[in-house]
């Protein structure tokens, strides 16, 4: 359970991800999507969080070795160059530049020197290109221009071939075009989505 003051944000959550699949998570603002991810990754203290891979519990002190998470806000520190950050994550910066050539000139730049969209794209690629079994992407399409969204969708599909990916975003079209399974968080609980009517019933769409 996640509570802020008297408000219960999340009563219970359950989400699965399979290698080779992209799982989409939808929910209205304040529904608890990010809280669930933050709790899962250890960025928010809550009781009774259980993460397991192939039915083996994951040591949450080192969860980043197995699951990489793109948070909603800025993750990279302001005083580390992009190149250094990629090096720490074990990602070849030039492989990233091959996909997005304009980042050649940002090699020694800090994240604050980039525009909001450029920083978001760099963080997204840093997470998705680093080694892990699963990825959780919290609003990966926010701040990103339509052309880059297509490239990001391509990258998500490519990485999902041998990884499991969970994506949440308010860009319904972008998320539904990459997701194999959809879930919605409503009234503090997660529920599977099989049709557009399910989203209407849970108050996410009209």
């Amino acid at each position: 359970m996640v509570r802020f003051g008297n408000k219960t944000v999340l009563s219970g959550g359950y989400i699965t991800s399979e290698t080779g699949k992209v799982t989409g998570l939808l929910g209205r603002n304040g529904a608890g999507k990010s809280c669930m991810f933050r709790a899962l990754m250890g960025g928010l203290k809550v009781d009774n969080v259980m993460v397991s891979i192939d039915e083996t519990p994951v040591d949450r002190q080192v969860i980043g070795r197995y699951i990489k998470y793109l948070p909603q806000g800025r993750m990279l520190p302001d005083d580390i160059s992009l190149y250094k950050a990629f090096k720490l994550f074990g990602v070849n910066y030039w492989a990233f530049v091959n996909r997005f050539p304009k980042y050649t000139r940002y090699r020694n730049s800090s994240i604050w020197e980039l525009s909001g969209g450029e920083a978001r794209l760099a963080e997204l690629c840093l997470v998705l290109l680093s080694e892990a079994q699963f990825y959780i992407l919290d609003e990966p399409f926010s701040q990103i221009d339509p052309v880059s969204i297509e490239a990001v969708q391509g990258l998500i599909r490519e990485r999902s071939a041998d990884h499991g990916i969970i994506v949440t975003d308010h860009n319904y079209d972008a998320i539904s075009s990459v997701a194999n399974d959809l879930f919605v968080i409503s009234d503090g609980y997660t529920a599977p989505v099989h049709s557009r009517e399910d989203l209407v019933r849970h108050g996410y769409l009209r």
Binding site: G43, P71, L76, L88
Partner: protein, 105 residues
Amino acid sequence: MTLRDKAFLVWHYGKVQLIIGCVYNILCAQLLLHRVSYAFFVDVFIIKAVIYAITFYLVTQFRKKDGIFFYINLGLSARKLQLRVLLVDFLALAIMLTVVILIRG
């Protein structure tokens, strides 16, 4: 991740605490070197712990909300990083006090 990378991350995560700790260590070493008796040693560690707790609280309050995920994604937990910073800080104090004892004889 290499040892150098780990050291870099500990420094990066705890640099405010380490800088404040270093200033305090130098101050204590100066005091012990010239004026104060050895009885002050216990107080040095108690004050150090209080300063560390206050700095930790302030740093945690003003840190970027999602900045912690940079370290978590690298397979480190906030608790582990904090323990390493604490260890380095107290080790530096212990080394400095040992040097003072050796100088004073």
